[in-house]
Symmetry: C2
Subunit: 404 residues, 2 copies
């Protein structure tokens, strides 16, 4: 199958490209390296030392014998995007090509506009290119569970049947997104739904939970194939950041009460879910939504898990509550459906101490690359409301050698 | 009160500016004249011969003795918008400053991107300027009933209480917008709701129906104060277009079955609704949605009304079904709530033959300005699906003099 991966240089895009390439598909990737540029702008970096896209593609060719074809440019540039689609004629497009950070979108007006412009206009360009070049192509779009927010009812997969004043209809699930980034994904979902309803395109919107983990089957084949791993305020996600904090002896930064509950999944399950969506495509005209996570945890539960796993390998991990830089419920009802991907055959990797220990081990190998000042949040959802109390860094009391 | 009208040179913006000025408020207007530019690009024009913004402001000063202060620039230009808000320090902002046409948004990728960029990024800029300059300011935003689409349940005003699996919450009403323009308004609504939830701003989203009519109390005071009146494919709305067709002896262009039912209101009631929203502002942190229309009609009913009213003044009006250029249900359930503005005191001007006769009369006065080729739809929701059958223009069989 001809598969185009948008954002193919990213945390998930690169492992996804290798996965489909390993399965014998004809894989092309598009990236404009905005993630690398944002890191340069913030003087931060991936924990893992990743090569250039060209280096990684060469390493992958050496290891697997397979080609991945790169295209460098932005989806906002329609001429570029359209030319790539005309050349590659993809049967499936996996779309990770967006600004993916909530805190980044909240740090300034400029970043907010950049986020909504990049994500909404880039995806709109994509929909037109698909319509006019490859109308049968299956678009697999990465959305986020954060589109739903934390309503006081069960969260369904994209749609909900509503009975109201004696009538009944199945309608898009109402959205209460928690950041200007999450809003951009809500906008995308509405635009894609429209393209399916009106133009007859087909799409699967994967409302993904918070991803953790580093290694996949393909990246484990050669150290040059490792994917990026972000732990900074902007691009780090909570469990990944906690693991880095545990390794460097920094208290785990729980925001507020820590009762924020979300869906989570292992990076290996991201690949499994995307593979399942691609192998079982939406029908023409269908806009399908899968909630893509395997387990629900509260932030406090994750902190406790990392503390326990750390203790097993000799790390003394402190947990510290911080003033929450976000405006969000810190304790709330949360119960989200995630049956559709299971019905397609998803076999989850569950999160436990063993997985956390393995992450701690990989992180410890790159410990000297950790940039500590990048970890604490400086972006606040509501300016002027909060000054984060910054605790002094603390040394780990045990050697981390045993993690390696 | 200091009031800023965004889009103050437009069909509704200009009459709104005069209304608040007549009531003694300190009124400023912003416009970038994009509507005039779009008309130039399509070789179309307002039926009514409108003066420049400066001419109209001078005429208003002569007639009323009141000043309206103009600012020329685009909301997408944050530096401009921010400077205007810093200078005028509005207590209320009435926001009409968007690309308002569904067919325009569907005519090309470029127009779709322009629409979503102009509307979404312009409004996002506005929210940041309000947050940082005038956080207590009440934003009155013009949305559209078209955000809801035609669900098979009653349409409520912005929010709906959902009972689901034994739990209950009041959530944003699900949206099924029918064009990329309507989508831009849905995106706006989500962004504004967020700004109220997170930043504590206050806003009223006026989900307006289809507006008809030309004259308001203020525009009637001097012919130089008349507002624009569009009847072309892009910016004309259905009843206004039917009235122009009746006057020039063109068959009324009913798309498809004509069973499309929508909410409608007189331009005088638009002003009344906006005045009521301004006089009864939302609370800080509140995002309030009013459905702003007074009556529901199907397209076929409107055509019949114009036919009857035309007959009374000696016009023989033909009604002709056209292939629908839009993808929409041509016969559907429709029942939308509109009680909130009535509860605030709205006294509707109902649509009837008398009002239509008055419109026909005003149109007949400008009959020589009608550009016939601009009327029929060329933009199709789904390219390649439909070629509109263009009937030859037909002369009116009766003199229209009696309309004047």
């Amino acid at each position: 199958m001809r598969i185009l991966i948008l954002g193919g240089d990213g945390y998930l895009g690169w492992p996804t490209a290798m996965r489909f390439s390993a399965r014998g598909h004809e894989v092309s990737v598009v990236d404009n390296f905005s993630r690398r540029r944002w890191h340069v702008e913030h003087s931060t970096d991936s924990l893992t030392p990743i090569g250039s896209l060209t280096d990684r593609i060469e390493a992958w060719r050496e290891v697997s014998g397979n080609e991945i074809k790169p295209f460098v440019g932005s989806m906002e540039d329609f001429g570029f995007l359209d030319a790539v689609i005309a050349e590659t004629l993809p049967e499936t497009i996996v779309h990770y090509g967006e600004q993916p950070s909530a805190p980044y979108s909240m740090k300034s007006r400029e970043a907010a506009v950049e986020t909504q412009y990049t994500n909404v206009i880039g995806t709109l360009n994509l929909l037109f290119a698909i319509r006019d070049r490859v109308p049968d192509c299956h678009l697999v779009k990465l959305g986020t569970m954060g589109e739903y927010g934390t309503p006081d009812i069960d969260i369904e997969e994209g749609f909900i049947e509503i009975e109201h004043k004696g009538r009944r209809d199945t309608l898009p699930f109402p959205k209460l997104p928690g950041s200007l980034y999450h809003l951009s994904k809500v906008h995308d979902s509405h635009n894609i739904h429209f393209a399916c309803r009106i133009w007859g395109l087909r799409a699967t919107d994967l409302n993904q939970g918070v991803v953790y983990g580093i290694e996949t089957d393909e990246s484990a084949r050669d150290e040059r194939l490792i994917t990026r791993f972000d732990y900074d305020e902007y691009f780090g996600t909570v469990l990944n950041r906690f693991c880095v904090q545990a390794v460097i002896g920094h208290p785990l930064t729980v925001y507020g009460e820590g009762g924020q509950t979300r869906g989570f999944l292992n990076i290996r399950d991201t690949l499994q879910c995307v593979e399942l969506a691609v192998a079982n495509p939406a029908e023409l005209g269908e806009f399908r939504v899968f909630n893509q996570f395997t387990e629900q945890f509260s932030v406090a539960e994750l902190a406790e898990l990392v503390r326990r796993a750390g203790a097993e390998v000799g790390l003394e991990v402190a947990v510290k509550r911080f003033p929450n830089p976000r405006i969000e419920a810190e304790s709330h009802y949360y119960n989200a459906a995630n049956t559709k991907l299971r019905e397609l055959g998803l076999e989850p990797h569950h999160l436990g101490e063993e997985l956390v220990r393995s992450m701690l081990g990989i992180i410890a190998r790159h410990r000297e690359r950790v940039i500590e000042r990048a970890i604490l949040p400086r972006t606040r959802w509501k300016p002027g409301e909060l000054v984060a109390q910054v605790p002094p860094p603390r040394q780990a009391t045990a050697s981390t050698a045993e993690l390696e």
